[in-house]
């Protein structure tokens, strides 16, 4: 199995003179194409005090038009094309994505280039959009998991921008309407070709795509801003926080550990991916115990989300017997502690590798899905090859490597956040 590429499609990389990277991926599904514009700017770029949440807010502003394509015209054209179009912001990236009939690619590329090169909006529109962002924050905050992750980051980090969620601190969101000038600076700094990767996947011919991209995107000038992200010092003592939820809720427990930055050839980094599936997925022994047999919890999972800078390996459980919250937490922590001492058998590790490989394959079931699975990796390394390298590294992780990687799970680097219903 290790011989098979996890990303099974051929691709081409092409760097324009201005630094924009074009990645073309012909796919077997007929008639459609997906365009993913990956801007290498996310909430990690919000290094200045009071500017948290700005990358996400700016994502909204990108739909506010240009002189040639005012928003009404832009929306109407996407509608006419029947396109599926949206955008999202994460810690390390902002992604604008559209899937449509391959024959309409030319039109879309012209429209998209226009807004990346000539975005223009009024202060009135800016202030109005800030309210929609606040509405999005309030909508999200009704969900316990969002609040749990917000608290977790704020507790686990001191100086790195990963301290805040992509939405940003509420206090900053409320001040956003006043930041019009800063929004212009944000665009000027980060929306630049050398900071953007353009993925075009689907029923396409790469040479033709290149010939479409070059005239529209070639004139985009490079920027000069140098981002300096403050690095988080090592955590030296365990941390803890608690949220009281106003309405009925089942308790949540999140146990997080500092984890290394993404590196596709790092055995240690790959080992943490394997551990997340081995120890905390539906196929794990802990899941069997907590969810199926004891039935103390109804959900258990681990997030090992790849990041440009060291982030968190997070295990989350939802506890269905609230009086067992402490027991569930102990079981999660014990499992983390145990890994360093008890490496799994190689045969079990092989099952985990197979699980990760096949799960990734199931995601590749149409143009948009293939592109959307690739986009996060492009934000990290700007090449699809990183997927194959990462899966290649999985194959090299031995049980002993896995135990060694569990050194990241020392208690002094641990942060635990619980969410529980407020006592009456």
């Amino acid at each position: 199995m290790a011989q098979r590429n996890a990303f099974p499609f051929d691709y081409e990389l092409y760097d324009l003179a201005n630094g924009l990277r074009l990645i073309t991926v012909p796919l077997p599904w007929r008639g459609t194409a997906s365009v993913y514009i990956v801007v290498h700017a996310g909430s990690r770029n919000e290094v200045e005090a009071g500017r948290s949440g700005f990358a996400h807010f700016f994502e909204h502003m990108m739909f506010r038009g240009t002189p040639d394509w005012p928003p009404e015209r832009y929306e109407r054209e996407l509608q006419r094309l029947g396109a599926s179009s949206n955008a999202y912001t994460e810690d390390d990236r902002t992604v604008y994505h559209t899937t449509l009939a391959a024959e309409d690619l030319d039109t879309l590329l012209a429209m998209e280039a226009d807004r990346f090169l000539h975005l223009e909006y009024s202060e009135e529109d800016f202030r109005t959009e800030a309210l929609a962002v606040l509405g999005e924050y309030w909508k999200d905050s009704a969900e316990p998991l969002n609040r749990l992750h917000e608290k977790l980051r704020d507790t686990a980090f001191d100086v790195h921008p990963y301290k805040h969620t992509t939405m940003g601190f509420l206090r900053d969101i409320e001040r956003m309407p006043e930041m019009y000038d800063y929004s212009l600076a944000f665009f000027d700094r980060f929306y630049r070709p050398e900071n953007t990767t353009l993925l075009i996947a689907g029923d396409i011919e790469p040479p033709r795509v290149r010939s479409l991209v070059e005239p529209h995107w070639g004139p985009w000038p490079r920027g000069a801003y140098r981002l300096e992200v403050p690095q988080e010092p090592a955590q030296t003592a365990p941390r803890e926080a608690r949220i009281e939820w106003e309405t009925h809720a089942l308790p949540y427990v999140a146990v997080a550990q500092r984890a290394p930055a993404y590196e596709d050839t790092s055995v240690e980094c790959a080992a943490l991916d394997l551990i997340s599936a081995l120890s905390f997925s539906e196929g794990s022994e802990l899941y069997r115990r907590l969810v199926i047999e004891e039935q103390w919890a109804d959900e258990l999972w681990a997030n090992q989300v790849d990041h440009l800078d060291p982030y968190l390996f997070t295990v989350v459980a939802r506890v269905k017997q609230p009086q067992r919250t402490a027991d569930v937490r102990r079981a999660m922590e014990d499992e983390l502690d145990r890994l360093a001492a008890e490496p799994p058998p190689e045969e079990r590790l092989e099952q985990v590798r197979a699980h990760l490989f096949y799960r990734f394959q199931l995601g590749l079931n149409r143009s948009d899905a293939a592109a959307s699975h690739l986009a996060p990796f492009l934000a990290l390394r700007r090449t699809p090859e990183t997927v194959n390298r990462l899966f290649g590294t999985y194959a090299c992780v031995s049980p002993r490597d896995l135990a060694a990687a569990a050194r990241w799970f020392r208690r002094e680097g641990r942060t635990v956040v619980t969410l529980e219903e407020k006592a009456p």
Binding site: P8, P28, G31, T32, F63, E75, R76, L78, Q79, R80, L81, G82, A83, S84, N86, T99, L100, A101, E124, R127, T128, A130, L131, A132, G135, W138, K139, A142, P144, L145, P177, W245, T247, H248, A249, L250, S281, E282, G283, Y287, R288, I292, Q295, D298, K320, E350, Q351, A354, H355, L356, Y358, R359, F360, Q361, L362, N365, R366, S367, D368, A369
Partner: protein
């Protein structure tokens, strides 16, 4: 049994097995039986294997079996890699035809259903809470009147016998549509056909799901709960299903009014783009499962009874009354004047092209084909490509006039300050919005009219309920 197969050289196999049963067939007092029967099959053990053994089997294959339970359809979905096509088809057959009915699985899955209602709907997802509250109003006393998961009290009463009884009565060989696509589809279909063919026939009649009673007057439910914003859903029963002569025209109209998660709709433009009232606003003529989680409609939620629905995403409590007024104002404008030629063309073009994208993944295609069988309209993309070119703006105008001018509406609000909102609505108090920046004159003039319009004439009932009482 109906069978669809599309074998191809894809490295993946997709299977959908849809039983034409669901929560509308729950016997009275046993709400949740359909839900639990399906969960016991998909997330419990078989006679031969415990649930843990099934998870251990699925894990190295990266495969999954899942189920969705709706009012009249229960869909088991399996996805796996070609490497495991044979053995996964066998597992699915075993799960569907030879369930284990273990008490410990039953306890776990019944807890899950209760927690979905108590913690999930009441506590974690205010938008879905308002939607379910709306359906409860429109379908009160009707088989669609409870959430598909059941009710808290009925779930607590249900025992395994009732759930097995539901399964025996409903899961018949004459009541299933099987669809297999991708790698090994023919072989998987043959295997499943053999096994499903051994099921006994359905012992209950398919039953006639009557239309919900017309709303004689408008009715409102205010669900009081602590939150920072108010979720709003508005709707009324609609007689138009796929295949109805007005369906294509109505679909165009509602797409222009509020295509799901697209910013082109009038509602989105009016509430969010111009006024910043919330995150988005949409309109529907067919039930859309989990709209906050997905951009695309998950197939196999076909229903014989539908409602027209406005989904206003959470707004600041002080704007809830105004937002509802403005959404209705947009609906009324549509009913009064229909669509302009350009708007009509754009919405029609969108639907004709967009549905091709929705059916691109093999599993989605199978699901939409099954829905096409259910409604007798064929695959939705083909149906729309055939029908939409024949439409003119006047058809849309006529369909809107016929179906989107209700005498009475149902409203559900969920959030804080419900008593005050109730007073404001019943007294038709003005609800002007203060903006944080200059707004154009046309917008301010429109606000001036909107902020005084009644949201409904003659409200029959306007109850404030505590969230703890919902779905009990």
């Amino acid at each position: 049994m109906k069978i669809l197969t599309h074998e191809d050289r894809s490295p993946l196999l997709s299977v959908r097995a849809v039983f034409l049963t669901g929560s509308a067939m729950d016997p009275p007092g046993e709400e949740g039986a359909a839900w639990l029967a399906a969960q016991m099959l998909a997330h419990g053990g078989t006679r031969r294997r415990s649930y843990k053994q099934i998870l251990d089997f699925l894990f190295p294959r990266g495969a999954f079996v899942d189920v969705s339970v709706d009012k009249e359809m229960t869909c088991f979905r399996m996805e796996c890699h070609a490497d495991h096509a044979e053995e996964m088809a066998e597992l699915l057959a075993e799960m569907l035809c030879d369930p284990g009915w273990r008490e410990e699985d039953f306890q776990r899955l019944r807890d899950d259903a209760v927690h979905y209602l108590e913690a999930g709907l009441r506590g974690e997802n205010d938008e879905e809470l308002a939607r379910e509250a709306l359906y409860g109003l429109v379908f009160g006393g009707h088989p669609y009147g409870h959430p598909c998961q059941g009710r808290v009290s009925s779930l607590r009463r249900l025992d395994m016998g009732a759930v097995r009884g539901f399964h025996t009565a409903e899961y018949g060989l004459d009541n299933v549509i099987l669809a297999c696509g991708g790698a090994g589809a023919e072989s998987a279909a043959a295997r499943l056909r053999g096994r499903l063919g051994a099921l006994p026939p359905r012992t209950r009649s398919a039953g006639f799901v009557a239309a919900p009673p017309r709303l004689p007057e408008s009715t409102i439910v205010f669900v009081e709960k602590p939150a920072q914003s108010v979720a709003v859903s508005v709707g009324f029963p609609l007689d138009v299903l796929r295949g109805h002569e007005d369906y294509p025209a109505l679909l165009v109209a509602v797409s222009a009014l509020g295509q799901h998660r697209m910013s082109s709709g009038r509602l989105f433009q009016s509430l969010r783009q111009h006024r910043g009232l919330n995150y988005g606003d949409y309109a529907y003529i067919e039930y859309f499962p989990g709209p906050m989680f997905t951009l695309e409609p998950e197939p196999n939620h076909a229903r014989r009874r539908q409602i027209f629905e406005l989904w206003v995403r959470p707004v600041a409590p002080e704007h809830a009354h105004f937002a509802a007024r403005l959404a209705l104002h947009e609906l009324e404008k549509l009913a009064d004047a229909g669509l302009a030629e350009e708007e009509f063309e754009a919405a029609r073009s969108f639907l004709m092209r967009h549905w091709v994208l929705l059916e691109e993944a093999r599993s989605a295609q199978l699901g939409h084909e099954i829905d096409g069988l259910y409604y007798g309209t064929g695959r939705q993309s083909a149906y729309l490509r055939e029908r939409l070119p024949q439409l003119a703006p006047a058809d849309v105008r006529r369909a809107v006039e016929r179906h989107l001018r209700p005498r009475a509406l149902a409203f559900a609000f969920a959030g804080p300050g419900m008593q005050a909102l109730r007073e404001s609505i019943l007294n038709n108090a003005p609800s002007a919005v203060q903006y944080n920046t200059a707004r154009p004159d046309w917008l301010l003039r429109e606000d001036e009219a909107v902020c005084r319009r009644p949201i409904a004439a003659g409200v029959r009932e306007a109850r404030v309920v505590r969230v703890e009482e919902m779905f009990e």
